[in-house]
Symmetry: C2
Subunit: 200 residues, 2 copies
């Protein structure tokens, strides 16, 4: 019978996410992680494997509690148009509410992957694609129900919303100004004939 673990997995993964999110993978040392996670280096290695594997686990943890949950919640709403608007509103509020101005761990990480790690790139791409797909499904459903006016090609509309959100995510880290983030989202919604973002 082995000695029981002293750490709470959720708590330590939260701590790891926090560090990686703020500083990025490369600039975060294993000692800094040990400090944040309140674990020794050996314990981290025992429990999570090497640094890259911990990073991967942290991403997964972040996505489960963040992007995936939010897409599911918004998509469960009866109105596809309002789902888009609400998703954008929530994205902006979360970013603006982050005192550390970290933007989005997924987007940050996607840009930091080096060519030496195509597996990580593909993983991140698959996750990013869930955003684009969410937008597309909403557009298609909204047009079928007549809630969203026909206009440009549905694929292109989804791509516009996708790139718009990615841009907002970039700005959330480097220039988190409400007028800028809201203006970009408001314009995308308006030009696509979608309802405005709900007020908070």
């Amino acid at each position: 019978m082995a000695r029981p673990r002293k750490f709470d997995e959720t708590a330590v993964l939260d701590a790891a996410v926090d560090r990686f999110w703020t500083q990025g993978f490369e600039a975060t040392s294993t000692r800094e992680l040990a400090e944040s996670m309140q674990m020794t280096l050996a314990s981290i290695h025992n429990a999570f494997g090497d640094k890259r594997t911990l990073f991967r686990r942290s991403l997964e943890h972040y996505l489960n509690g963040s992007l995936r949950a939010r897409i599911a919640r918004h998509e469960a709403a009866p109105s596809p148009a309002a789902a888009i608007a609400g998703f954008l509103r929530e994205s902006i509020e979360r970013s603006l509410g982050d005192g550390c101005r970290r933007g989005c761990l997924l987007v940050n990480s996607a840009l930091q992957v080096t060519p030496a790690d195509p597996e990580m790139r593909d993983y991140l791409n698959a996750e990013l694609a869930t955003i684009e797909d969410f937008f597309r499904r909403c557009i298609v459903r909204g047009r079928q129900s007549g809630e969203i006016p026909a206009g440009i090609d549905a694929d292109d509309a989804a791509r516009l919303l996708f790139s718009n959100l990615l841009g907002i995510r970039v700005l959330a880290r480097v220039r988190p100004e409400r007028s800028l983030l809201e203006g970009a989202a408001r314009a995308a919604l308006a030009t696509l004939g979608l309802p405005p973002m709900p007020d908070i």
Copy 2:
């Protein structure tokens, strides 16, 4: 009379840009830079200062030969609407033409700045802002001349184009697919009543 330099500054800065662009600042070691630049570590330090200063110099070099030159060229064109469309077309073609799929050094770097370096963040933000300003100037001038239809607020239109371009830049690194990049740009242009991107 000092010993003359052996290196060509432009060539070595090109080499540094290449490395930083591909791998990012943190993941690129000074020894890798020395190899690429065909200079010793001490010579690099003598000529350019520490790693961060070299990075800054490399960014400046990249921007002079890239973003700044392109904004100036497109803005000199007689048609503000065509300037926007042409700028987007060029951005996409440059990204898709890059076999290393590096995206945009400016955007990549902006996301990699850690909170410990606000000065670098501000520098990068100022550079990014020149893109937004370019779009705004074109929108305003195009509307004055009647070439661009009135629609949503000019500031918001500029923000939409800006976030759209940032998103395209992100995708240029992580998922450089022509249909995706072109679709996002095409949708932004179409919904703002702008002309399509010129064919290549």
